[in-house]
Symmetry: D2
Subunit: 366 residues, 4 copies
């Protein structure tokens, strides 16, 4: 039996690792128990790198390795863009020995598995090669989580690569062509390939269908994947979350689908799916049993909501529509779950229904 | 008996008056019945002016007056900044003769009154002079709405002036000093003075207290006022909304207070206050009885929500925190009321509780 | 003999037409002499529309026509985005009867011609149809300017259409496909087609080459065209500027090419090309003979300048790189020509060398 | 005799220290010779911190100290905001033993001195305490540069502190009041105090005058200081640059004042002041003798340029007017000096003439 928990550690800035340091100092968390970190960080791209480096400096010391080795040992998934009321914090994924007796026999409890693909060549990024590799990593992570049935999977987080001018130049020097020279699009191809890879692993989409749909047909999507991309990576890190009979965790996970950014019913669905018997009217009483939430925003995937035109993607802040979309969906989720501290990721290619998003909720089972 | 109704007319762009034109052509609305227009328009300041001019061109033709005379006859209140899922549209306030028998005896129904202050000199804008004038206009608008008791008031919309470099220069030429040379602050003084004027009229704040608090103590605030400001005005237009025994309207109005941007309970409170017996679980069944919503966002008035730090006012989009705050509160309200088409106004000085906001809801009474 | 002049009229805001009104009132300009207006306006898209409507309202009264008819009679070319030190103003193109004796025999003087294409169907916008139509309009405008030799042309301003969701939907309803559903790209196709149309007319590019190059090979470009696009149009307005023996204007025009955004030599080249004998050291003495300047910015067309990487198109303000590029090239031009009041247009597809831009200068000939 | 040189090391991103590492590995620079680093970095605040941490990690290894100790040993001055064509790079200030015979007797050559103030309490930041401390540090840095006469000083770079919510809270807990709770203003107070401290040291402003003028009268300013501020510091680092008879450097420094953002004459003045005999017409021939440039932008300090209104501080990008102002002044300076790689700092309180800026130029003396 293994015990699984995702700690919430508030941060004051991208480089703030003081909360994690305190938990390591107090032995609440042992460094070797950390299998992944998802950091919901304020700021943009460079803030993600900054958070990455700061965590690496701390963990190098704790693990007795070099700063460069840390991200190879522990996937550091930095989610930039704290928009609206999103609270900056670190989600620290801890796996430790659990007591056999904690969970009732045959009851499924929260578990996760982490897997990392090989490094991709620039010309492989955002292509069917990435789809295949993420498929394999998802299956590997399921195995590590000791979850055999895809029906027990509720959320797959993937952080993948993002082409840079330097990588494109390196490929061209070798006579190879990357998927696109447009850097914005390149991020989309990477996220799309990651999401489709997970979708193939989970049986949502067939392999051939995935390859054909990549950035061609966005309605082909995974209802479980939340993919992001960053120039700090050249491989994909995959975290599979679900429920397992081999877990002694105190928690359970479930998920729901929000049809649009204001769809409270999708959040209720996720909470129920995670085992809490709730309607809207007793929501406050169950809020204390909600431990952690993961949201994917595809709010900026459409130009209207409930038949009403909006200007997310056309008005003067359109370049930041992914951020405004996050603010929207986060407000709706918060209005139900109570705590504004959750992971909210944008960049919706082949994830969630256009205009809406996936919500995964970890709840206290006991 | 008078009949009151606020039409919702979707717009495709700031200058789109085709919907209003259609209703005028079909005689659904007669030009002389229009007493005010609130336009929730995409874009920023110039879009407000653009909407203003386009409406004036149309109404000049309809009313048989010059373009310049229109805003003097019909207050045109342009609310810029459609953020998140906010749907651009015009709210057209129509007052017409009502049938005596429509409303039950002694039952109070939706009514509004509109009043406009005199033009202010630049040095009067955003000062106690404006507080006093808005107080008087609010009382005058109450009288026009034939509402005697302040307890029947649920929303006061005020659009006031905003200093421009030209106005400041004009005042200085006469040896007069304006309230501030900082144009950003000037908008705040104007909104604050408007809100405090309404607060004094409604007995929320004493006159002296208002003068002392102006931009000094933001906790002194009105729970009914929603004030905005624009360089297109040099006076204040006031719309008072409430319930009156002299109204034969099919509608009722109520209001609630949202403690923060994700406070769904405040929206429920407003719906109940407007006479609909609802909890969260039957919300969908009552949504069709919700006719119109007015929201004030003070979401960007604090740096945290429910004890969690957020970065609305510190991260790289902080200059647009008022817009992001609107996206947040609008999502929460929409998740309850259903229709994303509503008025959402930012600029929260002396309005709403810091971090939250006022919600006024017009519901079908029958 | 015709006399030609482009007036500079400072504006205080997009809708400010008071300066033009004064010149009309004083009879300095007669309404029927105005053949085109280029307005360098602050704000973005809606500000352009606002300026358009305000000018139309004024000119409808002056010309005794309806507001809708004005842009059909007088091309109104609104250039949005006053960045850096760019001064907002209107350039009013006036053509009037000139005295025979004003210009020396055989000396060529400043002249312009204006031509407008037919309205395009949505599916024709940004395609070879637009290339052909702009080619024809350019040749027609040359004829109107009575300039026979393309060597006498120094600047071609084209304002073309920009697809909207409504136009795309209309085409799709008829089973037609527009050049792209991506609205950003659509603007680029329109500007590119306009520029290539002018290039074909001026003999810079062959017709077939133009069609193949459209948004495929940006190095194929016009050294004379400055194209912009706007949703307010469904046709192209073309202003051809050059020197003609049939002009009695006091002015001459010339042009130069800036290799990058800081290339002062390109500005000097333009001034010399316009007939002023200048080097950098006596620049101040000739500044008073410089009447008007038109600049196209392709500064954001590259990621480096003089071998040094810059972050115009990669940093957090990258969505506004076209605006920042304008600020850059405008500063360099202003440092030479003296007056910050000039037309500066972004959106560089098939215009100017990537990273640099075209500068056309009108100088006092006498 | 000491030898002084400021290396230009291009960077690919905030955390890129590979160029510096190469120079350290090749022994071109020895770690103990580095006395300060100014990093012109892309991105905003967090990018500055990121660059800081990355440099500290590298230098900790090189100097054999902890990461935390590095900024105490070597002032790391991170200038965020690469706008327009500004090239990201590190300026590494190196002081090493020089050969006696390098410089001609009595000839003054480039020298610099670095000094750091004590840490300030929050309530001391941006006050007369900071003015005094910077005055003392400036005099100390002059001594270290072995420059006795203020006439030999041409540039004073100061990086000071910036209040944070945490620091303000800490002060309030002790019953102390900080200079302002407005974080934007706090940066201005810090920069202003730094600039005035340098001004007092250099005899430009009297001590009492400085205290009274702080953010009250911005016309009181230093013509030599370039001050910036950052939350990463709680003290001030001062770099004084000038010419000294005790230097064997190959370089000389001079400065000029740009009256506005397009004032090329101010740049020429600086080049001449640094000993190069140039006019504009032979500028290209002297460009190869220009080694390094430091610019302060106060371009956003006014609303007009040469009598023409601009919209830097009023249009929709006004929150970034400091960045756009940098793009403007940098273009003008680059058009003269040739290389876009230079330090350009915004935040102009009590520095440079409003609307213009200081330019310091290091030239090759031989």
């Amino acid at each position: 039996m293994k015990d699984y928990r995702v700690y919430k550690i508030p941060t004051d800035s991208p480089e703030d690792v003081s909360g994690l340091k305190d938990l390591l100092n107090s032995k609440e968390i042992k460094p070797e128990e950390i299998v992944a970190i998802m950091n919901m960080t304020e700021g943009l791209g460079f803030a993600r790198g900054y958070a990455n480096l700061a965590h690496s400096v701390l963990l190098a010391e704790e693990l007795g390795c070099t700063i460069e080795e840390v991200p190879r040992k522990i996937p550091l998934i930095m989610i930039g863009g704290c928009s609206g009321l999103v609270a900056p914090y670190s989600a620290v994924f801890v796996e430790r020995e659990g007591k056999e007796e904690t969970a009732k026999k045959d009851e499924k409890r929260f578990a996760f598995g982490v897997s990392v693909t090989r490094d991709f060549k620039p010309e492989e990024q955002g292509t069917s090669v990435q789809i295949e590799a993420v498929k394999d990593a998802t299956l590997d992570a399921m195995k590590k989580a000791r979850i055999a049935d895809v029906k027990d999977i509720h959320c797959v987080q993937v952080k993948g690569p993002w082409l840079t001018p330097a990588l494109i130049a390196e490929a061209e020097k070798r006579g190879e062509k990357v998927v696109t020279n447009n850097l914005d699009l390149a991020g989309g191809y990477s996220r799309g390939a990651s999401a489709l890879g997970a979708a193939v692993a989970l049986g949502e989409v067939r392999s051939n269908q995935a390859k054909d749909a990549l950035l061609e047909d966005l309605t082909v999507h995974s209802s479980f994947a939340s993919a992001s991309s960053g120039t700090e990576r050249t491989n994909c890190a995959v975290i599979v979350m679900g429920n397992s009979t081999h877990s002694s965790s105190k928690y359970r996970i479930g998920h729901g689908i929000m049809k649009d950014g204001a769809d409270a019913a999708g959040v209720i669905e996720a909470i129920k799916n995670a085992g809490l018997n709730t309607g809207l009217d007793n929501i406050e009483s169950v809020q204390q049993k909600i431990d952690h939430v993961f949201v994917k925003s595809a709010v900026d995937g459409t130009g209207s909501c409930r038949g009403r035109r909006h200007v997310l993607t056309s008005d003067f802040l359109a370049p930041y529509s992914w951020l405004l979309g996050k603010a929207v969906i986060h407000a709706t989720v918060t209005s139900i779950v109570g705590d504004p501290m959750m992971q909210v990721s944008g960049g919706f290619e082949h994830q969630g229904p256009l205009g809406g998003g996936l919500v995964a909720v970890i709840t206290l089972a006991d």
